[in-house]
């Protein structure tokens, strides 16, 4: 297309990145937040109690079971989620009866107080889950359309990653290069560095993202090769499910879950329960599945222990069989979602996700920086395309983080008993984002950047303060209670605020350096005049550079 393959790919990389860059930034940022979605949800439901140290698993199971016996009569399947490093509250959940006109009822989770066993009334909120699900189910669009748009964007992202590697001529010689003070080259270096240091992650995240909806995107291929039954069989092979006994419709008395748990404890040689699933409750075939935390990206049969709820005996299950391709496919999913990740690994996932978002942002900024000198010389002002990109940059790269903070503000400030509260928290986020996208239209780019950066810093610094004023789950208390997850959220807000403040400061400093200050100009003028007046030398010998 252009003279050389590399030049064609450079053109291609630029266009592919530009067309969907802002959508990809949104996907990357909300997805990255998803690595901490349980922690975010916990912060967004401040009615939940602080962490309870030192309550045994058996006691928690008893409390949960007592609640379920009283409140979930007639329900065949329910779950108990024990407090974990990520979500420190005891929770129970089951599928409620279907509402009129709907096929399935909603699965609802209740948070229980570990001391009293009562349900805790929480404000209605989408929590961290709604926030991260936006990264593949755009909020206002029907899910099918979202999946296709996400697929299109992910495909372009994959193209960008691969063409990026192809065009990076000096990928090894320039590996460690970062020319910090040199404007355009500096931005190019940042973009290159951020892409290269996490290249395996970027490729994995994009490819695994596409794999999530493999059967949606490649429906034509599966239709040509399989009929419906074969497709079901193939899907069963790729996503195997644990086999369960069916309900026998014969009532029977069950043992206490805490007693049944001893079987799991013996099998695991450890007291490490994550959640419990009950099947066919109060029936002859009642059985309980005890599951512990994932520590692997591949299936580990020992993670699940099935116990007969009536007799208390261990049910020896046939482990799920994974074919090689199925292991690879699901392995990709595990890598993408990072369920296995402990605390340190999770922070690394989060940090690397931010690197990905910054890679996209730096690419977009690089585009405008490269074209800026030429655009500024334009007699009628910059081109429409350039201005559009610059405004979208400001409104998205700084605007989206501000909008996300607004989501948290809405969680704290909207009335607790407001109707449609979940939708309105999201609406506040998108309305703010829209305003921040429109705002740069009315301001010169430099001013808009600086103002939005400062706004972002203020917004993030103020959020922990609002937390203090509106709830008792603020930083002071969470540190006292050693509830590190809650404390971590507020501390992260402060760090993010600090980053934006630093960015605003650096932005201002760079602007000032480019134009000489008025004082400097006056000083040079004065020297010129002095030289011309005082000197007896002819004019030509006055330093031409200064005047």
């Amino acid at each position: 297309m252009k003279d050389s393959f590399r030049q064609s790919m450079k053109w291609f990389h630029t266009w592919v990145g530009l067309i969907v860059g802002w959508v990809l930034f949104f996907m990357f940022l909300t997805g990255t937040l998803g690595y901490f979605y349980q922690e975010i949800t916990r912060w967004m439901e401040p009615e939940r109690p602080f962490i309870e140290h030192n309550i045994s698993n058996e006691r928690l199971l008893d409390i949960a079971q007592a609640y379920l016996i009283n409140n979930a009569q007639g329900v065949d399947e329910w779950d108990i989620m024990l407090p974990s490093v990520r979500d420190q509250n005891l929770r129970v959940g089951w599928r409620h009866p279907a509402e009129a006109g709907k096929k399935r009822g909603k699965y609802k989770i209740k948070v229980l107080d570990a001391n009293t066993g009562d349900e805790i009334e929480r404000r209605a909120t989408g929590g961290g889950r709604l926030l991260y699900r936006m990264h593949y189910r755009f909020h206002y669009l029907p899910t099918e359309i979202s999946y296709w748009i996400v697929g299109f964007c992910s495909m372009l992202m994959l193209l960008a990653v691969i063409t990026g590697v192809v065009i990076h001529k000096k990928i090894f010689t320039d590996f460690f290069t970062f020319r910090a003070k040199k404007g355009l080259l500096g931005w190019l270096d940042i973009h290159n560095v951020l892409s290269v240091i996490a290249l395996p992650f970027h490729f994995m995240i994009t490819y695994s993202g596409l794999l999530f909806f493999l059967f949606t995107y490649m429906v034509l291929s599966t239709n040509l090769q399989t009929n419906e039954d074969e497709l079901d069989a193939m899907l069963d092979e790729i996503y195997p499910r644990t086999a369960h006994l069916e309900k026998a419709n014969q009532a029977a008395k069950m043992l206490d879950i805490s007693i049944l748990y001893q079987q799991a404890k013996t099998t695991w040689q450890a007291d490490e329960l994550s959640y419990v699933e009950m099947f066919a409750a109060n029936d002859v075939n009642a059985h309980v599945l005890f599951v512990r935390h994932e520590t692997d990206i591949t299936y580990n049969p020992e993670d699940e222990v099935m116990v007969n709820a009536v007799t208390g005996e261990l049910i020896l299950q046939k482990p799920k069989e994974y074919t090689v391709t199925s292991m690879i496919h699901n392995g990709f999913f595990s890598l993408h979602e990072g369920h296995f990740a402990g605390s340190i690994a999770r922070w690394i996932y989060f940090f690397t996700g931010l690197i990905g978002s910054a890679m996209i942002a730096s690419g977009l900024i690089l585009w405008t920086t490269k074209r800026k000198p030429k655009q500024l010389k334009n007699p009628n002002g910059p081109d429409f395309g350039y201005r559009l990109v610059e405004q979208l940059n400001i409104g998205t790269i700084v605007g989206l983080p501000i909008a996300i903070a607004m989501y948290f503000y809405a969680n704290r400030l909207l009335p607790v008993d407001m109707a449609n509260r979940v939708n309105w928290e999201a609406n506040v986020m998108f309305i703010s984002w829209a305003m921040l996208l429109i705002y740069p239209i009315f301001r010169p780019a430099n001013k808009a950047w600086y103002e939005q950066l400062t706004l972002a810093a203020l917004v993030y610094f103020a959020l922990p303060l609002v937390n203090v004023l509106t709830t008792n789950k603020h930083l002071g208390n969470s540190l006292l209670q050693q509830d590190w997850n809650l404390a971590g959220f507020d501390l992260t807000l402060l760090v993010v605020g600090g980053c934006f403040a630093f960015a605003a400061y650096k932005f201002r400093a760079l602007q000032v350096n480019i134009r000489p200050s008025k004082q400097a100009i006056k000083k040079v003028e004065k020297q010129c005049v002095q030289a011309m007046n005082e000197s007896l030398l002819p004019l030509q010998q006055v330093n031409k550079d200064q005047c």
Binding site: F175, F176, F178, A180, I197, I348, F351
Partner: protein, 107 residues
């Protein structure tokens, strides 16, 4: 994890110092070109060792993933230091692995 990051940092530093342009940034004295020739192979060995360590510590399933994570952090740290505080890179590349290894033995 710190062990992985430290050793990755040292390995990447060796790759970096194998290049003249960066050696000038970091070191004041010249190093004989004979010594420099050994930097790259040794760096590869160190990298392989770190990868092996990661699999040993965390298993085949998530070991590689954490190894890449450690590499990411190490390289980012190295590049930032090279730009703003180049001189402390060599001492750091020696001290960090030492401290991390001692930490492992204590635990």
């Amino acid at each position: 994890m710190l062990v992985l990051i430290s050793f990755s940092f040292a390995a990447m530093m060796l790759f970096c110092l194998a290049m003249t342009k960066h050696r000038k940034q970091v070191l004041e004295d010249e190093i004989s070109s004979l010594t420099v020739r050994f930097f790259r192979p040794f760096a590869w060995l160190l990298l392989l060792f770190t990868g092996y360590l990661s699999v040993d510590m965390y298993g085949w399933s998530i070991g590689p993933a954490l190894f890449f994570g450690a590499l990411t952090i190490a390289i980012l740290l190295l590049i930032l230091l090279l730009t703003y505080r180049a001189k402390i890179v060599p001492p750091l590349a020696v001290i960090m692995p030492l401290i991390a290894s001692i930490g492992i033995f204590i635990n």
